[in-house]
Amino acid sequence: MTVEAPPTHLRDEQGPFFGEFGGRFMPESLIAALDELSAAYDDAKADPEFHRELTELHRTYTGRPSIITEVPRFAEHAGGARILLKREDLNHTGSHKICNVLGQALIAKRIGKTRLIAETGAGQHGVATATAAALFGMECVVYMGEVDTERQALNVARMRLLGAEVIPVTTGTRTLKDALNEAFRDWVANVENTHYLLGTVAGPHPFPVMVRDFVKIIGEEARQQVIDLTGSLPDAVVACVGGGSNAIGIFHAFLDDPEVALHGFEAGGDGVDTLRHAASITMGRPGVLHGSRSIMLQDEDGQTIDSHSISAGLDYPGVGPEHAWLASIGRATYTPVTDAAAMQAFRLLCQTEGIIPAIESAHALAGAIELGRTLGEKATILVNLSGRGDKDVETAGAYFGVLDAGAGA
């Protein structure tokens, strides 16, 4: 008689490590704050009142549960597969980022912090953090790469309207990775009254686990919604991957459903055969960046390589450790999508379904088109539409040449 292997519960991983990835590689000055945060999070997790408060906020403020929308006209271009969008774009503030932000803001309140700081790329996480700061009466400072403040000017204005201070970061590559560096520097100096509200499933423990726990509601809702609609699990779940928060958010509920394929689509930029992309898992290798061991774009000496993507939110040379682990064990597949393919999918969704997606989410849509063509019309594909494209109208307008000459194109 053979001994049965214990059932695997990939969803049970609680860090600090996911396989060889994760951990905490941080200056000693921040360890006490990370320990305090870990303890506060564990405490909150065990407190029904915390969950009640967060659920109530999601119901009355975020607008959860978010709906799923079937997109048959779009799906005609995707091999006729059945395509369902999880509409995180309909959340208050326009993306999935609010889920993590409200959770962490409540934790910050529990530990008596009065000031929130955040990094942001596309500006969606910054807007969500500025929103929570306004809601809870906290001070808010958002670090944003100077390059990103230019290409996402509308979100900069939104954050300022919400009362946040936006600090353009002029060091390094002046994009998301440098915004993280500046936020860590601020935190080192102001840790006593400040919570660093990190916006993705990266960084030192407990961020990857805590952020995942706050965004996994996306997949938990969607899993049941898909079953209710179709009577079964989807064949594939699809998301774009920068740092990886929306992807882990929708993947997590399906980790222990081996019949469901999980596909992350990274920013392929001009193509992974060029140096201008942000396909960290596809083209990177293991190392330490921003406090955890994961996979990142780096040169032989371990210097981080500049990433590129038309999408500011995916323009990050690293990825969260749980994704590195899921890639390493083969549970999820990560594939690059070029700027051009993402923009074609962007326009297709606009014109076939009347939904303007964020350029980030358009990478997932482009991936779904390819996947649908491979899987065929019997397949059901669930796509995380992680954000809406209002912030990208100027970029997309210029890309497709639809801005009037006088309108600043």
Binding site: R24, S29, A33, G172, V188, E192, G287, D301, G302, Q303
Partner: protein, 267 residues
């Protein structure tokens, strides 16, 4: 005590010697390759010739989260000029050929991981280096470095912060060899007008958990501050002020500043 007590530490010896002859040690930081590799070597030599007891050479890194604007700017310039990791070993070797002070490399962890921890330790030792200061590697995350530094006999300097618990201070003290880097104030590197009481308190806490070699850094930029620090600590570490002098007034300028800072170590 743990087995590390049996390994001779060149840095601890230099600090000990400075405490016998003066009030304590002056430790000077400069990044490798700034403004050029040759000038960074000349500048480091000039530091020692003008009273610096222990050299701390920074390895430029793309994402230096513990560094303030002065050091960021210098290390970025070094990277832009084509700095490679092997340049750090070249610098150590060339400086050691000219002056006798022990040299610690200060490095963020990823470059060491990519080079290979064992290979890095071997090459640093071959070049005549004394060990590493690791600003983003703590004892509890550093098992491979603890093993390789014991194998090669290299010094390893861990950091202690005002916010560290007593338990973590003990961990830093018991596992550091050379000295414990006492972070004077919560923040990144960079000169500050006043140091406050945090550093003195922290050194007292380190002493109470057994530290015999605590050196204070971050924000230290004047001879007066050094004299004050050496009233309670074993060494004072100056970084950004030296880097600024090198940037503005070249090797001669950094030599003059070192000589002036060294007056703070007199009894």
């Amino acid at each position: 005590m743990t087995a590390i007590g049996v390994i001779e530490s060149p840095v601890a010896s230099a600090i000990e010697a400075s405490r016998r002859s003066r009030a304590g040690a002056l430790i000077g930081y400069l990044p490798v390759g700034f403004p050029t590799l040759d000038e960074s070597i000349d500048a480091a030599v000039a530091l020692v010739e003008n009273g610096v007891d222990v050299l701390e050479l920074g390895i430029p890194y793309s994402d230096p989260v513990m560094d303030g604007p002065v050091i960021q700017k210098a290390t970025q310039a070094s990277l832009d000029a084509g700095f490679r990791l092997r340049d750090a070993f070249t610098a150590v070797e060339k400086i050691r050929a000219r002056v006798d002070a022990p040299i610690l490399l200060m490095t963020y962890w990823n470059p060491v991981v990519q080079y290979g921890v064992a290979r890095f330790a071997d090459d640093l030792r071959s070049a005549g280096g004394a060990g590493l200061i690791t600003p983003d590697l703590t004892v509890d995350s550093g098992a491979d470095w603890l093993a390789e530094s014991d194998r090669t006999g290299l010094d390893r300097v861990f950091l202690a912060a005002p916010t560290s618990t007593d338990e973590r201070l003990r961990l830093a003290v018991e596992n550091s060899r050379g000295f414990v880097y006492t972070v004077s104030t919560m923040g990144t590197t960079g000169a500050r007008a006043e140091l406050g009481l945090a550093a003195e308190k922290l050194v007292a806490r380190l002493r109470s958990v057994g530290s015999t070699s605590a050196c204070v850094g971050i924000g230290v930029s004047t001879a007066e501050q050094i004299a004050e620090i050496l009233g309670y600590a074993d060494g004072a570490i100056v970084g950004s002020a030296l880097v600024r002098a090198l940037a503005e007034d070249g090797v001669d300028g950094v030599a003059r500043l070192a000589a002036q800072l060294a007056t703070g170590t007199g009894r």
